[in-house]
């Protein structure tokens, strides 16, 4: 005959009073009542609700929040991007479209003739910012990607992205100017 292995479970013996559940029901009621009255306190700071009343009270974004992209500018207001394609290559959502063009200035090799980010496809991973060798693209504006009612509005082109941009402290082309 096969042996069945059994494990005796030490059950806590309940007496009749415990089994009637009255003490537990009273305890439960005490807890819920405590919460109820604490949250009825006219002084809102004394309540234990942690709901953020979002549309009325704006959300405070953390310092390193990633949001809408922006393209940084050179000192003379031109786009910093050198159309190296690093960002569009690494982008897992494949949503950066760049067309490179020759720059007139011989010191600058290329510039993006077209630079479009499909913000609706973007998964806000931030890899494009990490990949950029010359601090040309950032997501640090503290502005989240807005909702769109129209598909076309989600395509942010170069000029739009540059409008949101600013000067970068990084020196273009490295230490030696």
């Amino acid at each position: 005959m096969a042996l069945v292995e059994t494990r005796p479970v030490n059950r806590i013996k309940q007496n009749l009073w415990d089994k009637s559940y009255i003490p537990e029901i009273v305890r439960g009621l005490a807890i819920t009542t405590r919460h109820f009255f604490r949250n009825m306190n006219p002084d809102k700071s004394q309540r234990s609700t942690f709901t953020r009343e979002y549309p009325e009270v704006p959300t405070v974004y953390p310092e390193r929040y990633r949001g809408l992209h922006r393209l940084m500018l050179r000192a003379d207001g031109q786009v910093r991007c050198v159309a190296c394609m690093c960002c569009s290559t690494i982008c897992p959502a494949d949503c950066i479209h760049i067309e490179a063009a020759e720059h007139d200035d011989p010191a600058i090799e290329k510039y993006p003739r077209v630079f479009v980010i499909d913000e609706l496809r973007c998964i806000v991973c931030g890899l494009c910012v990490e990949a950029c060798p010359c601090d040309a693209i950032r997501m640090d504006g503290g502005v989240h990607i807005p909702p769109y009612t129209e598909r076309g509005a989600a395509f942010f082109d170069r000029d739009l992205l540059m409008e949101r941009g600013g000067l970068s402290l990084a020196v273009q082309g490295g230490e030696s100017k």
Binding site: G28, T32, H35, F36, N39, T49
Partner: protein
């Protein structure tokens, strides 16, 4: 003619203003706001009157409008006649029961004198029934009979919907209500023996007695076990959590309400809330002294054999004052009990169905029979 007018006013004030008002507020304040407070949430606050959220109260108007505007669907193969009839069958008993609920003693056209045994008699006048719709000597029986009728609504709704979940919900609700009605009635038998009347107003009057001059002989004092049993059975009767098996949404979708939409759904929900308020009113009358305010009588305040008479020069003024206080006391007691029922609802998890039946038949019923025997024994000895 005047009598008819008074009756109409009473019906409007009690049924439509009080019962419906409290019930529809409960859908919001009781269910959504109270649960939010318990669970550290804010609850609904986005529907606004001129920019004020008013504790979320405008939501119930918004809900009502939404319900009216929704499509009224009826499932294929449903019995149209019964499917339409069922909400009315649930709603009707919930409202009719209020006919016997007294919100205040009868009005005395003469002057009221309180006797040594704390009963009030009307001198140089007669009692006028101004504060309950119907003065019936079988008030309690009427209330129970009406409450029992609401089983039909749920059962018919479940059957007529042509949906398995609805049918299960209807069966569950009828089984549950029938089981708990037994212990509900039996737990009250002790109370009936003590007061010796079925008239709800007389019962409340009897609770004005002060034992030893300081302890109001409310039902909860003389019959604590019966109060407990009745409260539990009442919870089960109104299908509130932890006894909301008929609408067990994780098991049978929404029970017998599954196939209802639009205002039919709203009516069914609302009548459940009205039933909750009704049970609260019954408990208040039977066990918490109804409209009685301790130590306060129509001709003054009595405590430990002492008797103060405020406004002694103008007893009428004091009488009106007591009327106001007593109506207020009744309303407050009802609101408190409703609050407590909702508190239970948001505290306790749902029972399993066999546990509900076990609790009803194997625990509440024997206990209420025991309570009946002990009460009878004590009454015989005394």
């Amino acid at each position: 003619m005047v009598e008819v007018l008074i009756t109409v006013i009473k019906i409007v004030a009690i049924v439509f203003v009080f019962a419906m008002g409290v019930a529809s507020l409960m859908t919001l304040l009781g269910d959504r706001k109270q649960s939010a407070k318990i669970q550290n949430r804010v609850g609904p606050n986005q529907a606004k009157f001129f920019g004020f959220s008013l504790g979320g109260i405008p939501h119930f108007i918004a809900d009502g409008i939404k319900m009216i505007l929704k499509e009224n669907t009826m499932p294929n193969g449903a019995n149209k006649w019964l499917h339409t009839l069922a909400p009315a069958l649930i709603f009707f008993p919930a409202l009719v029961g209020w006919a016997v609920i007294p919100f205040m003693d009868h009005y005395c056209t003469g002057s009221v004198r309180t006797l040594a045994d704390y009963t009030e008699v009307c001198i140089d006048g007669e009692w006028k029934n101004y504060f309950s719709i119907m003065h019936s000597d079988a008030g309690l029986l009427f209330a129970f009979a009406i409450a029992a009728v609401s089983v039909y609504g749920a059962a018919i709704a479940g059957w007529a919907s042509n949906n398995k979940f609805s049918l299960l919900g209807g069966l569950r609700s009828s089984a549950q209500m029938i089981s708990y009605e037994v212990s509900m009635g039996l737990s009250l038998a002790g109370v009936l023996m003590i007061y010796g009347t079925l008239n709800l107003n007389e019962m409340v009057r009897a609770q004005g007695y002060l034992f030893g001059g300081w302890l109001p002989m409310w039902g909860i004092v003389v019959q604590p076990l019966a109060f407990f049993l009745f409260f539990l059975a009442g919870l089960a009767e109104t299908k509130r959590a932890p006894f909301d098996l008929p609408e067990d949404e994780s098991v049978i979708v929404a029970g017998y309400i599954t196939e209802y939409s639009s205002m039919k759904f709203a009516i069914m929900q609302l009548s459940e809330y009205v039933a909750t308020v009704f049970i609260a009113a019954l408990i208040a009358i039977l066990f918490l002294g109804g409209w009685q305010v301790p130590f306060l009588y129509a001709d003054g305040i009595r405590f430990l054999g002492n008797h103060w008479q405020p406004f002694a020069e103008n007893p009428d003024l004091w009488y009106y004052f007591t009327i106001m206080l007593r109506i207020g006391a009744m309303v407050l007691k009802v609101l408190f009990l409703v609050w407590l029922q909702f508190m239970m609802r948001w505290t306790l998890p749902r029972f399993r169905y066999d546990q509900v039946m076990t609790l009803g038949w194997k625990i509440l019923l024997p206990l209420s029979i025991a309570n009946l025997f002990i009460t009878a024994l004590i009454l015989t000895i005394l």
